[in-house]
Symmetry: C2
């Protein structure tokens, strides 16, 4: 059976300040309302049902990933499987572990490995390409890569040096070839030669293989890594599973599938066809993706522009006024603004690393934080208070909780709230308010059909999120266990 | 007696987004905590007592000007007189009207006319210069200008072409000369010639004259304007005074004192001396005023800078990240951001004019609005709610008021409030809250010794500031009369 593995381990640095450590690129939308991750899942869904889609994510991104999947197409993404990595070790360990989990369900599975930050069209060509590749992978026992014919001398991608063509495996649309060599990111001179020579394709980072072939090659090329997976294999489905995976991640070194496996294998073929492929790599990539105005600008949000050309402007809601800018990137969010020339977009990482050194919250998270029940935004904070707008989705319910260092005051702005306060149950309607004293158990629920919006004023000497004692939680946040490759959590009945 | 007239009619466009129509440049601080206006008043105070200082302001800036004056040196500026202009007609009509008001108090008065947006040091030289000029103005019956020897080929100022030196009126420090000609802003070639020739000074826009000499020259050079002042002269101190002034402003054309009077008068002398004079004309002027870091940047606020040189960065509190900027201006405020090259700082006016065309509130006012009793900041607003932080100064009291379209919920964050709600009086302490229903009379007072901070959540279908019915107000905002040149309002006793 065909499975798909979506690599969603982004670290949130390249699209700062729109991305943050806790809200990386794959959660952002660049084309239409859907996030890159949702687009990636949607793209493969006609070919691979959701319970055969495995999404590889870091532990800090798991709950936001679930939220996005549950929000897709009326919950159609809800059955996708998550493989939660305890730390990021580049692609090969993650692909090996996930292939192991898949092989346990179906030893004959064929897997299509996708990145979560590509834009690909048209979808029907893409699906036909995956299907064609899956057939070859199964029958010919080869590792397939997707090569993209270059249309500019790009220095930001790796390249495939193409070998002999395989007409027996090519169709009217798709061409299959052996891969002679994997080539690292070239300098501009080389990239120009690759472009004119016609013997190099971009390495898209997508792969198709049967798990059988994958492990055959892995055992030959990376015997140590293969060996260290064996204790995970034995623990699968047992109580020790999580511990075995943690052990594997602690004792394995970072390695990419390109350098760790593909470039050493003689069983690598490449396939290419008429698909439009875009890597959303950094802010400057928006020039590739987004429509331009008459002056060559990509503009989102509220901008006043005078003599401004070929620039990328991204504003949340504040006014951004630009005079005489050329080839610049300006990104304005609630709590941070980035300004840099397009050709220095890669240095945004340095900004994030400086902010991390300062322990600045702006490296880590947005003012708005998503939760399984909805989201909240910090509107303001001062020495003894914090102000939040809290939105609870219909049917959503916060945990039954208590704070030791703060009291809270809630004003309902829209919708209806069912409030538990101590032993009381209270219904609060728009324009009503309630005080929640320190050390009092409380809970907010939205029993209605429209979002519940509450303004919360917190008062106290300590106002961090970790001043919370949870007594009961619909979203399993009272314990810390993770089930690898488990189906998503079932919502408990209300007590 | 010596009077001072301070021209504070700025329109708030050149320093947008730090300045706004309702918060122009003279209210901003660039050097230390004091506003330019407060600095201007402080500078002249040792020579001219506050009740002989007249500040010319537009009607929309009067209350903020009073607030600044009352906040200076424990209220030392409180007795300054305000001349409130119904509309701005450039400098000559304002100077003529104010001279008339001064002449009524003292027909022999000498007036020193100052701008409210200059930085001048050292103060003792400046005061000596004014005093010396005042003596000459009185004895010689001439109009004196302050000329500044140029030290760069500035194209943004007007120049004085100097005539014969007057050794009898010069001292060791100061040189007096006749003025041969007023010269308009030159192009760069001319400005370079002026700089090397040594026969031109910058026209600082400061003047000293006796009101007698001023009106003699005005009657000769601008007989129509002089004539139209006569009905104001007759109405002074009468019930019709305000109406006469309004009539004068409606029927007079804009005219500057330079072009309308000085350049046609043969009785103009100039005086210059060792003072350091800076015109705070636009964002690029900060290079003149502020200290620079090792890379030549002027930085205020929270900035992360990579390879950024010779730029002016002004950030309120959000993080601003800059990569590879040269000679740029970046100004980041609560609700708007400006980015432009230094040499285009003048075009900030165009931004403001575009925002005005859109009726954008960002042209007009800041999120924080000052009131006689304190200030408030709009923290957030949505379709049915508005969120404010309200700070009431010790002893301050809002008007007794009522809203027809909104209810309000208050949470005290700091301090103690005395609340009138309907017929009740309630004391509210930190961490307590109260609901104020629609159409209920209410009032907030800070009876304590520390600022009272309240978070206000407004709820309703119409949330503008004009939904207010005031029943009693300590700050005379229940009626609309203005007394020209009246002493400042006396605080009423609490009822």
């Amino acid at each position: 059976m065909l499975y798909s593995m979506i690599m969603a381990g982004g670290s949130g640095t390249r699209f700062w300040p729109m991305s943050r450590e806790l809200f990386p690129k794959q959660f952002l939308s660049f084309e239409g309302p859907d996030s890159l991750l949702a687009k990636t899942v949607n793209r493969i869904l006609p070919l691979v049902p959701e319970d055969r889609i495995a999404i590889v994510v870091g532990a800090t991104h798991a709950s936001e990933t679930r939220r996005i999947l549950q929000g897709m197409n009326d919950g159609l993404g809800r059955e996708c499987r998550l493989v939660i990595e305890p730390r990021s070790l580049n692609t090969l360990p993650a692909i090996a572990l996930t292939s192991l989990l898949i092989a346990r369900e179906d030893p004959d599975a064929v897997v299509a490995v996708m990145a979560s930050d590509h834009l690909i069209s048209p979808q029907d060509h893409f699906l036909a390409l995956v299907q064609h590749a899956a057939g070859i992978a199964q029958n010919e026992k080869v590792l397939l890569t997707f090569g993209i014919p270059p249309h500019r001398p790009e220095t930001g991608f790796g390249y495939l040096e193409l070998g002999e063509e395989l007409p027996a495996f090519s169709t009217g649309l798709f061409t299959a070839r052996k891969v002679a060599k994997f080539v690292e990111k070239p300098d501009l001179t080389k990239a120009r030669l690759f472009l004119s020579g016609g013997r190099h394709h971009w390495n898209s980072g997508m792969f198709v293989f049967s798990v059988r072939t994958f492990f055959e090659e892995l055992s030959l090329i990376q015997p140590t890594l293969f060996e260290s997976l064996s204790s995970v294999r034995e623990a699968l489905g047992q109580a020790e599973e999580r511990r075995a995976i943690d052990h594997f991640y602690r004792h394995t070194s970072p390695l990419s599938i390109d350098y760790g496996l593909m470039e050493h294998s003689s069983r690598v073929w490449s396939i290419s066809g008429p698909i439009d492929w875009k890597d959303v790599g950094s802010w400057s990539a928006l020039d590739d993706i987004s429509p331009h105005d008459n002056e060559g600008n990509v503009v989102r949000g509220n901008a006043v522009m005078i003599d401004t050309e070929n620039s990328i402007i991204h504003a949340d809601k504040r006014v951004v006024a630009l005079i005489g800018l050329k080839d610049m990137i300006v990104v304005d969010t609630d709590d941070a603004t980035l300004i840099c020339p397009k050709d220095r977009a890669q240095q945004v990482r340095e900004v994030v690393s400086r902010l991390r050194d300062r322990n600045a919250v702006e490296a880590m998270e947005h003012r708005t934080t998503h939760r399984p029940w909805g989201h909240y935004t910090v509107l303001d904070q001062g020495p003894m208070y914090k102000l939040k707008s809290v939105t609870v989705n219909p049917g959503g319910r916060l945990s039954l909780q208590m704070h030791l260092h703060r009291s809270e005051h809630w004003v309902v702005i829209a919708g209806t709230a069912r409030i538990i306060l101590g032993e009381e149950e209270i219904f609060l309607h728009t324009n009503q308010s309630i005080d929640v004293p320190k050390a009092t158990k409380h809970r907010i629920e939205n029993p209605g059909k429209v979002p519940l919006i509450i303004i919360e004023v917190q008062n106290g000497e300590y106002l961090e999120e970790d001043d919370i004692i949870r007594f009961q939680d619909d979203y399993r946040r009272t314990d810390e266990t993770h089930d690898t490759f488990a189906p998503p959590p079932v919502k408990e009945d209300h007590p």
